[in-house]
Amino acid sequence: MLGRDRTRETQLDLCVDALLRGDDWRLAISPAAAASPEMNGLVAVARWLIELARRTPRDNGRVRETVWGRVAPQLDSHPPSRRTSAPAALTPAGA
């Protein structure tokens, strides 16, 4: 049972990977698995989630700055030390 569950979980994961890449999910798993009603049903939900996520905009920096302005005064070293100056905290990760 555990093995079967693990297989279905892996198959679904491969389908989600394909959907996120914009590929045909049916090509990511075996034809038999792609034909299963369960997999079709779960992939339908996955497609909705991807579409919903796409419609959810990211912060353009305004909220990051506003929230930091509210949180920073609560830090022990308020006004924040040079190490925790706004530019450091307000630079998005990876920027």
């Binding site: 693990r6 679904l12 989630l49 919903l52 419609r55 990211r58 949180v71 609560q74 990760a93």
Partner: protein
């Protein structure tokens, strides 16, 4: 104090880690997590203004409770705080929140879910709020952030198999909830 002593004493390690949670640690946490934290809050609240409120209070709470963090996954810890804060907001606005009494249906018609129409968006958003804490975290990182299951596992301090299992159960639950809603409407 030697590295060996720290290695042999989990308690000592926690004390040292807790001591390192200064304002610099917090600024780094904020820098590294804000974008995800805010979008996670939007996913839960469906409201940008409310999400801003929730995330501001969550970071304030994270700072206040930083010594209670167990050191496994900062992001999972922060997400849990955001979720609790969002639930508090819903309680204030709706009176009560009952996460257990959600209509669910066994899968009878796999083709029931077609394209995501405007009327489906609210149902899907609402269904997401009925997932467990860890299911919401995985759904967010996987679908909203587009991370691989390995990357999600790393962010949440879990292994890849656990992430795949959580993802499977989350999608199954969402489908059952959505079918339940659909049946209730028809």
């Amino acid at each position: 104090m030697t590295a060996l002593a720290v290695e042999r004493s989990p308690h000592l390690r926690l004390v040292l880690e807790a001591g390192a949670r200064d304002d610099r640690w917090f600024a780094d946490l904020y820098r590294d997590t804000f974008d995800s934290a805010f979008r996670f809050a939007v996913m839960l609240t469906h409201d940008h203004h409310l999400a801003e409120e929730v995330v501001a209070e969550a970071y304030a709470r994270a700072w206040k409770n930083r010594l209670r963090f167990n050191g496994r996954s900062e992001l999972a810890w922060l997400f849990a705080i955001i979720r609790n804060r969002a639930i508090d907001e819903f309680r204030l606005r709706r009176g009560t929140v009952d996460l257990d009494h959600v209509p669910e249906k066994e899968d009878e018609s796999p083709s029931l879910l077609g394209e995501l129409a405007p009327e489906h968006v609210a149902a899907l958003r609402d269904a997401i709020t009925h997932l467990t804490d860890e299911q919401q975290q995985v759904i967010f990182l996987r679908f909203y952030e587009g991370l691989s299951h390995d990357a999600v596992a790393e962010r949440l301090g879990k292994n890849g198999n656990a992430i795949r299992a959580i993802q499977f159960r989350a999608l199954l639950r969402l489908r059952r909830i959505l079918l339940g809603v659909s049946h209730a409407r028809s």
